[in-house]
Symmetry: C2
Subunit: 139 residues, 2 copies
């Protein structure tokens, strides 16, 4: 199963260690993460050598080629919001994870497309449980 | 012409005066702004009396019923990103405005749907010129 992981890039990089944790966890369970770069330190430098169109096309295509999307939405991000909508449009189940207390968007919480769900977590154990529950339903 | 204005709500409210300025400008030129609430002080309290599903449905429907979308993307926001994608999906031209130097998303800058454009502004005169140029093309 191929998973597109979505996290903030230009919206703010303060949660990189969390993104890395989620990706490592997914890989440890033998899932393929097709957007591992999202959690890479220094990604901004790599992106600087790529055109904006190339980044857009690659991300949009990866979402379309994925089986589902796992998004960390604690840090607000235009790109993550766009990717969630793009995934729903292509009928991909999207799990949106956020720290308990984070005030995330009604476009996620109130989403009625049937493809987008949101769950709060307070610690790593809870984070892992939520992810596994989502992925178990998919298999 | 009906315009959906998009700005950050839960992503951060620091640009409310800018959102108000843009909406006032659009209305002064006799455009109808169907999401004027985005720039309302105390919106969070109003939203608290509405279900998340109602907010989602209202916003999604308003985007679909608009002729075009004007989005201020300087403050990162999952909701604004979602609305930009939703608008492009429904073939609505989207103008994304951002302060010169703001590092906005490649999903906007590199967007190849043909519906999304982005322009930086440094002052109010420039902001008004960019908006009028976009709307003139539409009429």
């Amino acid at each position: 199963m191929k998973i597109f992981f979505a996290g903030s890039i230009r919206g703010g990089r303060q949660l990189i260690p969390r993104y890395q944790y989620i990706i490592r966890f997914l890989k440890s369970r033998n899932y393929t993460v097709i957007s591992e770069h999202v959690a890479a330190e220094g990604l901004e430098k790599v992106e600087a050598t790529t055109t904006e169109q190339e980044i857009y096309e690659k991300d949009a295509t990866w979402v379309e080629e994925s089986d589902c999307v796992v998004a960390e939405i604690t840090v607000p991000s235009i790109g993550v919001g766009y990717e969630i909508c793009h995934a729903a449009k292509h009928k991909k189940p999207v799990l949106c994870l956020y720290e308990t207390g984070a005030n995330a968007s009604a476009m996620v919480f109130g989403n009625t497309t049937g493809y987008v769900s949101a769950k709060a977590y307070s610690n790593k154990e809870q984070l892992e449980e939520i992810i596994l529950e989502f992925l178990d339903k998919k298999e």
